[in-house]
Subunit: 354 residues, 2 copies
């Protein structure tokens, strides 16, 4: 018994761990477009049962360099949380601006059932969520997406909109041409027509959907009012913390604004520029058919995305369901599991007697 505790901890003590390497293997096994589309189904399914979730504001620890956040949620059966940092100065120092990991646990006994990297997974779920929103809000038969900001999110968004919304063309612009070149290279075999543009104005020309995903800008104005024609769907990703916005306020005033969770978006999203009671529409109500999304051809719809805990939960739930299918995980000996729960000390004391 004692030896088996060490060399072969009981099944109860083990928690599946998906490392970065494993996550890359999962993406490459399933294929990024398929995986994003499948995560989109999980995100949509969880938006459809919105009322079942405990929705807690993030727990943030702010410092002068950045923020570390815990984002917990629960559907009553499964509990999940994500640890995520945001440090704008990291990139210049050779670190990632955002890194993340997450946990799922059983509500009935509190035992973790999954521990996973979430830097890559967050990129996948953010793109999946944008595509779910666009499926309900963008003009029917949208084929062209303008993308302003060609950083870490760019390719994930492009693939999500191809797979879930059905676009066939992306028009790319970034203030740094090297970022655009990187995206062109990475999308070479995606099946998308990729057009490089010299300005934001050029990128949005002829597009039915505009995605803004710039980073490291404080209250920038990526899009101005004159760039936005009628009937456009705007997928605003980059404005996601206090003091960080991408769109001119006049665009917001012309748009119907759809958000994940109003209490969080009013602090972090584009709508931090508006009054606290400015009317916004909760995305889950559109997905569940309680409210209408796009109703006219010339309406401007805006998804003011900041990322919400339920989306991380959906993505973790998806990964848990892929463990057997892909086999890309290891078991971590994370939970002490003495034969007699009252004998924790004895377990430690006798661990190496043999």
């Amino acid at each position: 018994m004692t030896a088996s505790l060490n060399l072969n901890p009981s099944k109860l003590a083990m928690v599946p761990f998906v490392s970065v390497d494993n996550m890359m293997k999962i993406v490459n096994t399933i294929g990024a477009p398929t995986m994003i589309a499948e995560i989109a189904e999980y995100v949509e399914a969880d938006f459809l049962r919105w009322d079942q979730f405990d929705k807690t504001p993030r727990v943030a620890a702010h410092s002068k360099e950045g923020v570390i956040e815990l984002m917990p949620t629960s559907d009553g059966e499964t509990y999940g949380f994500k640890y995520v940092n945001g440090h704008p100065a990291n990139m210049a120092r050779g670190f990632q601006t955002v890194t993340a990991f997450g946990v799922l646990a059983r509500v009935d006994n509190g035992y973790p059932v999954l521990f996973s990297e979430m830097t890559i997974l967050t990129a996948l779920r953010t793109a999946a969520t944008s595509a779910v929103a666009a499926k309900h809000l963008a003009p029917k038969n949208s084929k062209v997406m303008g993308m302003i900001g060609n950083g870490a999110q760019c390719e994930f968004q492009a693939l999500a909109f191809k797979e879930v919304v059905g676009i066939d063309t992306v028009r790319l612009y970034d203030i740094d041409p090297a970022a655009t070149e990187k995206a062109v290279r990475n999308l070479a075999n995606s099946g998308l027509t990729v057009i490089t543009c010299k300005s934001a104005e050029e990128a949005v020309t002829g597009a039915q959907i505009i995605t803004t995903c710039t980073a490291d800008k404080q209250c920038a104005t990526i899009l101005t009012d004159n760039m936005i024609g009628s009937g456009i769907h705007i997928n605003a990703i980059g404005g996601d913390c206090p003091g960080k916005t991408e769109l001119h306020k006049d665009i917001l005033l012309r748009s119907d604004i759809f958000v994940e969770y109003p209490p969080q978006t009013r602090i972090e999203g584009e709508i931090q520029q508006l009054d606290d009671d400015y009317p916004v529409i909760e995305l889950w109500k559109v997905i569940s058919g309680q409210l209408l999304g796009r109703v006219t051809d010339n309406q401007i719809t805006l998804f003011d995305s900041v990322g919400f805990a339920t989306e991380d939960f959906s993505a973790l739930r998806y990964i848990r369901d892929q463990l057997e299918r892909t086999g890309h995980f290891v078991e971590l000996d994370l939970l002490a599991d003495p034969d007699d729960p009252r004998d924790l000390f004895g377990m430690v004391q006798r661990a190496y007697e043999n």
Copy 2:
């Protein structure tokens, strides 16, 4: 470059992980009594710089079966949090009532620097904290401790009080004689005189210190007023959540009450039985010399322990400092670290080309 990402992720991507097996090895390498005494030094050092810590209430997700909590804190340089569950019905189903794990991270860039099991570590830090409190509050030259409740915390507490406070005798009582027998067996070579008692009254006879660490009781009365003579120090461990207390209210009214963090203890500790403005003394103020602890020989002192985030932080900080000394950890590939932070997609895409 690409192959090295997978087979040998950069140092930045790796986070040291202390599994249950590694934690047991660390305890056995250092020795439980020494390790508890060393953790006590870290706990005491952090109580001395109390003002430096961000003190957030726990973030709790309650269900009918139990609770899952996140306990974050930060000293401005290092951030830490613990995940811990409490499920009273778990033991009957073959699971641990409490399991835990924790993380330390750098505040300046948000990168995790330690991921560790904390079921065993919490037992060590709880005992260490009790001993630190008793060092400042118990009668000088206390030699005998009565222990009511001989479950998972019992031996850790006994060793902590021997090592840090200097007791030489423990008097054990539990409603289940098997629990007491287990503790007697585990303490056989501890150097303590261990006396088995048939009642709580017998266990406290002649003791200068009384430790109550019962579990799974809702508002029980382990100690009644007539059992408590003058001059006693009470170390009350078991009452640590709403609706869970161990001491009769009359004992509280006769005692000077010392607590970790009043906003949390008023909800979770023995003092949930008292008015919200009942005077209590913050332990850190005694440790730092700002307030007096024990002032007379016949005073009853009560440490109403519930466990606070800074203590977990201290314990994790200690473990991080033992990594090199003991070598008992593995590196987890937890953080995505592309050569170009904007090229997360390319990292994933090219991961298995070679």
